[in-house]
Symmetry: C2
Subunit: 682 residues, 2 copies
């Protein structure tokens, strides 16, 4: 049975009307592989399943695990949550479904990514990546050029009243002290800011409970005068500073605005993780540190390595920052502007009560605020306890000026005993805590390769039920962070925990010398925690994850016609089908091109060598999944255009020849024929 | 219970002796989440599993699917096969396990990838990527600079006697006409060659049955004289040529050697896919084409779009190349050297019997050689048949000079009826065929969104059992290619098929406007084909996959001490633990650094602004998974060092300040303290 050539060519059979042809040509009845036998609701497990389990040597518990994690074909809703995971030094974000743990998307953030057309000629992505390399934050090497990678550590979902609202996602670059923003309508990166005065970053991102700010602080401190590098280490105390940064968020667009942002100057204690207060502690922010010893290394010149020097003291310092107070201080004009951002100097921060310190054992990693905002859990890292501070006690100590001492920088240090609510011995190498909806905390134990579950105090648990270790689960292996469903919010969802294991060792087949990380899915619904599955992470090194109920994400499937992803508004050069045109003006060739199944129009571009070429490309499709690509060989150009999307590509035609520009994203039966010619004439 | 600081600092608890600490500090017994209940061998499915299935509304068939595809924690061997998938315009390779379909690794090939330290300062990767941009293959834009992406389509595993041998993997870049080689000992890219005379590529990669050559041919033809771009389209027939390229493989190292390679010049028919003969057809290679019409477009200037012009004729041309004959022709000196490679000109190829043509309907996509080497299956794409040619018939027609005509380029066209063995109507949009071990072919139907299973002829099936459509399976949606286990070899393994669907539409949660592709795992062991699972592809657009038995891959877990991945030999600058040193010679700072848990030694580097800096880094660990990173903020440098690995980083210290160089890959309890200082003094 022939179908008309016109139908084939126009791809009418595929998506022309938004439908996919399901018809059959041929005499054999279509097998519908999509399940069906047995009916919905489960009429019991079949003998066939039992036979397969036996053949594959699966235990009964393994079968249960399989049934708990399987997302059947055609039932995507059974992935009830999403993980937004940092990609570590891949510089990207990984999006995965729970409980399937399948990888749904890699979002290009700090590293150019050509499949998404991010950083390969289209203005929308190129501008963002270029924004990310300026001299605002510090020196940039001319020879090495633009920054084309980042070390993403901490994703932060936007919040309203302390719950995730599914609008925006922020993430920071540990290596270069930068912060990016992703719009969860189209899952694309819209902004990278090279944060002034940050040469590195760790503490953040997280947002304040109504997304007023997204926080990012230094890790290794910044040299305040770059011309003094020679004495950076010998005069560390005077020349180096940390910065707690509050990047102001535009409540309409989610973009960060430097002019409304501010920093609080900190001692050079090498700040580490951070978290926002919520509810009773809304308005406050807490940051660990782990090198208040201010060790500088020198292992080949008579000094001790930093791993020794930074571990000397029994306590490091938690920074307690009152950002609402800081806002007042800024408003009162008591700040300096350094490299384009308002900074509250260290002495002012101390004098105005913006900054206090609290001793925390011993080179801690992780300060995590409980759902009610009153407890702060700190993993001791080199101390086998989780130390739990009470915000009510911290507030009381501040008000009563209950100080242990004043540190060398003039900052008051609160009395340790006055602010600790509880302390539980949990195991070796405690790092990072997340919470469930029942008043339990879950802390990762790097050295023990385990997760410890413990109870908080009142109002969750009272008397001898409070501050107790209640369960411990071995993981594989050497867990860094973990995440529970919505565990960072005022209303955790419990159900699952994902252990982000750093070493996979023997858990996966050997695929070369660089082994993947291991995400282990843990069931929290039983009396004891139980591992359900191992999942290799094929690209990147996740450090921290946020897990959100899938229903909160309301992403777009198509763009409003002519949208430029950078502005999220109609591009002035967007065109409708049939309105394509070409203009040659002196040494400039400008084209307004439509892109659809299965041609670019115009499909032939002729430039003279040296011409400036400006191409405005509009995907005029309206059907979900009707993405097209546009590549120009040899010119390192690849654009990805989703339905409705419009971008501009600008370059110089400095290489002569004939270049077959083509669609990179398989779009139709005649996808291969979706090609044109770009001629550069000498 | 305290453990000594020394133990913690040296990370003795983690991997010091290759072991992970499993001990417990604390009063709660460790829960071992790793299964165990029920025993191996399967004692039947539990009531608990049944309850879960009911709660999650899984049908009995879904439970069976879950049990068929689940790989339990700690049992990686249950992934019996690997997929090596192209990443499309991500420019990378994806490695996945079967049947779990989990992503084990993304291999950086044409696109820099910082997690692997590929293209971010380390010589091993930088050299490879730089190799990939030369002017040998064609013009390169100075303004746009180095090529930093590719469009990977066809991975090819090395073969011995027509079976996969697990040593090397090749893949081509459709966009720029390049080819890369990956070493399957460490799963890293070792070579990129910008193939002379190729401006694009599709036909390949595949290897000849003993890996003598890896093949790559043009897609859109090359302009033979770049100064004539102005008449490229009007004088297409004279100025444009295709090239079938045989890249010679060094049998010891797997590297490609241009001086032993050669090309056969082809008419500008826009060659498409290709495959190698095997067994009876060993020594021959077959390439589709789809624009023998030589349509050039011009949709905005009175011409017809290419999608119409290229679909005009009822037949395009399959190219049949006798490469053993070609070798003789080269040896006899009947070639020209063009841009550094020996080329057999078109007229010589025709005259010497190196090249013949066969009509193939209608704008075909896919020529796939059956396991016994005698059948070639061609998907009609715009013709709803699979056309099956017999190599015995082709050989006979060639020997008898049984021609239909001589084409405009002097190439003989064999008589269609003389070489067709069978023709089966399979459905709309047939593309690509793979095989099982029983004599069946499986062909993808893009427009029907289905897979059709058909029987071959003798010796597999005889009489009316031969050349029959036997089954058809709906897939979701719009399948491009497919792969069966070892389906490209002389001994396919059957068992599973993976459908590489281009459109996912509603199969996954909405994660923005760019939707993932869908890999559907299909069970071939039953009477009817059956879909087992859907898997989203989070990055890239796979085009073609090769599936290999996992046991054939013998990858390394560590390097021999001091190995540079580029040479796979000991680096002359590799050092042992304790042999670190620093040299300042005038304007050059050179350091030989050791890298191990948890310090770089030396950890302090002082350069004067403008100095040349040369760092030789050796990871002196011996334990699997003890990978370290090395990043220099602001200088766009990130290195990844696996156990035993040694690389060199060279750059100019042209930006002053203090830069906290640090380990990017979480390696130990004191990973954060694994940091040093790089001071650049003005």
């Amino acid at each position: 049975m022939a179908i008309s050539r016109r139908e084939l060519i126009q791809g009418a059979a595929v998506g022309g009307a938004g439908l996919v042809v399901g018809g059959v040509v041929g005499k054999v009845a279509l097998g519908d592989g999509d399940g069906g036998g047995g009916g919905a609701g489960g009429s019991g497990l079949s003998g066939q399943a039992q036979k397969v389990a036996t053949d594959r040597k699966l235990s009964a518990d393994d079968v249960t695990r399989a049934v708990k994690t399987f997302v059947p074909p055609g039932q995507p809703g059974l992935d009830t949550h999403f993980l937004f995971s940092s990609g570590g030094h891949s510089g990207q974000i990984l999006v995965m479904g729970v409980p399937s743990l399948k990888l749904l998307k890699v979002i290009g953030v700090f590293t150019p990514e050509p499949w998404q057309g991010y950083g390969y000629g289209a203005d929308a992505g190129d501008i963002v990546l270029r924004q990310g390399t300026t001299s605002a934050g510090g020196a940039v090497s001319k020879e090495r050029g633009m920054l084309t990678w980042g070390d993403t550590h901490h994703p932060a979902l936007s919040e309203t009243k302390g719950e995730y609202d599914g609008r925006w996602l922020y993430i920071q670059d540990r290596a270069n002290g930068r912060i990016a923003m992703v719009d969860l309508r189209d899952f694309k990166t819209k902004q990278i800011i090279d944060v002034p005065n940050l040469e590195s970053s760790h503490g953040g991102c997280f947002v304040t409970p109504n997304s007023e700010y997204v926080h990012i602080s230094t890790k290794t401190p910044t040299l305040t005068d770059r011309s003094k590098a020679a004495s950076a280490l010998t005069n560390f105390k005077d020349l180096m500073r940390g910065y707690s940064t509050f990047m102001a968020i535009n409540q309409g667009t989610g973009r960060m605005e430097l002019d409304r942002s501010f920093q609080v100057e900190l001692p050079p204690y090498t700040q580490d993780l951070a978290d926002s207060g919520k509810l009773v502690s809304d308005g406050w922010v807490f940051i660990n540190s782990y090198n208040s010893e201010m060790a500088v290394g020198g292992n080949a010149e008579g000094g001790v390595p930093i791993e020794v020097g930074a571990s000397k003291n029994d306590f490091d310092m938690m920074h307690v920052i009152n950002w609402k107070k800081a806002e007042e201080v800024i408003k009162a004009g008591k700040s300096r502007t350094i490299n384009g951002i308002k900074v509250i100097p260290l002495d002012v921060a101390a004098a105005e009560g913006v900054l206090h310190l609290i001793p925390e054992p011993k080179s801690p990693h992780g300060v995590d605020v409980a759902p009610n905002g009153n407890y702060l859990c700190v993993g001791g890292k080199l101390d086998p306890h989780v130390t739990i501070y009470g915000f009510d006690k911290i507030k009381a100590a501040i008000d009563a000026k209950n100080y242990e001492k004043i540190d060398d920088f003039g900052v008051p240090v609160l009395k340790y005993d006055a602010v600790v609510a509880g302390r539980i011995e949990v195991g070796l190498g405690p790092l990072h805590t997340q919470y469930d909806e029942k008043g339990y905390g879950y802390i990762s134990l790097f050295l023990d390769s385990a997760v410890a579950k413990f109870s908080l105090g009142e109002p969750y648990f009272k008397g001898d039920q409070a501050f107790k270790l209640v369960d411990k689960l071995k993981v594989n292996y050497n867990i860094g962070h973990l995440v529970t469903m919505e565990g960072d919010t005022v209303k955790p969802d419990g159900k699952y925990l994902v252990a982000l294991n750093k070493w996979s060792i023997d858990r996966f087949p050997v695929v070369g010398t660089l082994k993947p990380q291991n995400f282990q899915l843990v069931d929290l619904t039983g009396e004891k925690m139980e591992i359900l599955s191992d999942t290799p992470i094929g690209i990147g090194e996740p450090h921290y994850v946020q897990a959100i109920k899938a229903e909160r994400i309301k992403a777009w499937e198509v763009y409003p016609p002519g949208t430029n992803p950078l502005t999220m508004e109609k591009d002035p050069n967007a065109i409708e089908d049939g309105k394509d045109r070409l203009e040659k003006r002196g040494n400039t060739l400008e084209a307004w091109m439509t892109v659809k199944r299965s041609q670019f129009k115009p499909d032939t571009l002729r430039a003279n060598k040296g011409d400036k070429v400006i191409l405005h490309l509009t995907n005029v499709e309206k059907t979900p999944d009707a993405t097209h690509g546009f590549a120009i060989p040899r010119y390192n150009i690849n654009v990805s255009l989703d339905p409705g999307e419009c971008v501009t590509v600008e370059f110089t035609a400095d290489a002569e020849g004939s270049f077959a520009m083509y669609c990179t994203e398989f779009c139709s039966a005649l996808h291969l024929e979706m090609q044109g010619w770009f001629l550069v004439i000498a």
